[in-house]
Amino acid sequence: MSDCRHARRLAADAELGTLDEADRLRLELHLEGCPACAAETGRVRGLAALLRAQADAQDAADADDARSARALA
């Protein structure tokens, strides 16, 4: 249980860009052997990826609109 709590903190560190290489390996090993933590990390990162894809699409749409406006000007 405490391993899972520690793994959760390491996963958050990874997402915050503060995980060193040794802890990265510890996290990977834990996730390989713990379906619950792997699923949790997958849900959090999956949602982040979905929201980023949406945001990137908005940026692309804005850029297209700006190009169209310049072409019409």
């Binding site: 915050l16 997958g42 949602l47 982040a48 979905l50 980023r52 945001a55 699409a57 940026d59």
Partner: protein, 209 residues
């Protein structure tokens, strides 16, 4: 997220425009209208992009952009140059959006735009429908997060901000920012797990990766 998507410093350059000089900033701070306009023109695209990333295609986005611009001009005299102007403007924008989250209630709901899904989502029509439903559910999920956790999650997850950047954006200590992110992460996991249409979509997308 930050581990694989470090904030791109090149974003500091506004789209197709030269960043205003320190002289323009100084003049804007004294109330020079032409300098203020130049400042806004140079940074409007960045402010708009950041607002859209944090609130999605909400109908409130334009108002928030306007509020951030007003706040920028109101406080430019306090800019001392100890951080980059872009970072300073990002902090102003973040605070405007955070205040919106704290005061808006359900108006903060993200809207899923069909054209965005068409552009970003899979080619297969059935999967695109799943994406759209998933994004709707994600919008509802974000709506249920506490404002202080929602803003931290968005800064990290959508903007790819590091811990240090997130703390700086919100005037938090590093431990406080990390604590908020851990709580946000826990809430997000719990809410996704009890939202079957979203959990299923995320599992399928992960399996495809």
């Amino acid at each position: 997220m930050a581990e694989d998507r470090r904030h791109d410093a090149s974003e500091a350059a506004p789209l197709g425009r030269a960043a205003p000089s320190s002289e323009v900033v100084r003049r804007a701070a004294t109330g020079d209208r032409a300098a203020q306009e130049a400042l806004l023109v140079a940074h409007l695209g960045r402010i708009r992009r950041r607002v859209r990333r944090l609130v999605g295609a909400s109908g409130e986005a334009d108002d928030l952009v306007q509020q951030a611009c007003v706040e920028l001009l109101r406080s430019i005299a306090r800019y001392r140059g100890d951080a980059s102007l872009e970072l300073w403007i990002d902090r102003i924008t973040t605070h405007v959006v955070y205040k919106f989250f704290r005061t808006s209630g359900r108006r903060a709901r993200r809207v899923t735009v069909a054209e965005d899904v068409d552009r970003a989502g899979p080619e297969d029509a059935e999967r695109r429908l799943e994406w759209r439903e998933g994004l709707d559910a994600a919008g509802e999920l974000l709506d249920r997060l506490r404002p202080e956790r929602r803003i931290v999650f968005l800064l990290v997850a959508v903007e790819g901000r590091s811990l240090a950047e997130t703390a700086a954006m919100l005037d938090l200590s590093l431990p406080a920012a990390k604590s908020r992110y851990l709580r946000a992460r826990h809430d997000v996991d719990r809410l996704v797990a009890c939202t079957p249409r979203l959990a299923t979509l995320l599992e399928r997308e992960e399996a495809r990766r």
